[in-house]
Symmetry: C2
Subunit: 150 residues, 2 copies
Amino acid sequence: MIQPPASCPLCTLSSEKVLWSDEQFRVIAVTDPQCPGFVRLISQIHIAEVSDLPASAQTRMFSLLVAIESAMRQMLHPDKINLASLGNQVPHLHWHIIPRWKDDPFFPDSIWSAPKQRSEPVSSAASQAERATRAEAFWKTVPAVCAAVL
Amino acid sequence: MIQPPASCPLCTLSSEKVLWSDEQFRVIAVTDPQCPGFVRLISQIHIAEVSDLPASAQTRMFSLLVAIESAMRQMLHPDKINLASLGNQVPHLHWHIIPRWKDDPFFPDSIWSAPKQRSEPVSSAASQAERATRAEAFWKTVPAVCAAVL
């Protein structure tokens, strides 16, 4: 663990919508209408890379990641799930857990890519309203899902 | 496991530069001069999401991921490492393990973002030639690194 810089936005909770937390990790809801249900899993200590974590915390982090992914699939039924630990802008370990739909503005590229100029809508399995409803329901399950991870 | 489509490019080895493989996973070198040392960890079976894997294979996959990240840090000393399982274009489970430098064309954005228009070079800790040399050395260690993961 390195000394956290005073400027690290993940070392302060400020305006985050925290769904669950303990001493090691927290999960926040990311309010992004293009990706309803988006969450981040964030280390509570200021480290940059997965391999900076002790082995036991790595194992727990990955168990949380899979549990969240499983719940997201079960509750949202997205076309794909994207998992990413980048941290180029904020080098404090955090995972993006992103539900993707074939008609979201970036599919099949990453959500960090340029949005598509779609000539016609891509057929989707769920309306925007239905996705938002599912996302709220998914977020509500996150505390129980994470609490069940040993 | 679902029936792999005949068109899945990760179900055929074709022109991949395989560094290591076993029954469950393989690691390939990604030849990208903008990210020397880039590798992918790929499931040998055609599944889309991490949570499609049996728990024992998930554990092993994450152990491989961390071992590769650790070796990449030790051999390349990049400014950051990016880990991502996206699969929007090829829904066959694979991880991008990407060394990032502050003066690569995309930093601090993702490698899938638009490249930067840099008005002046960002100082870097290693020259392009040095990075390429380190990347080759790193790729050579991958077989031993992966073989050591139980």
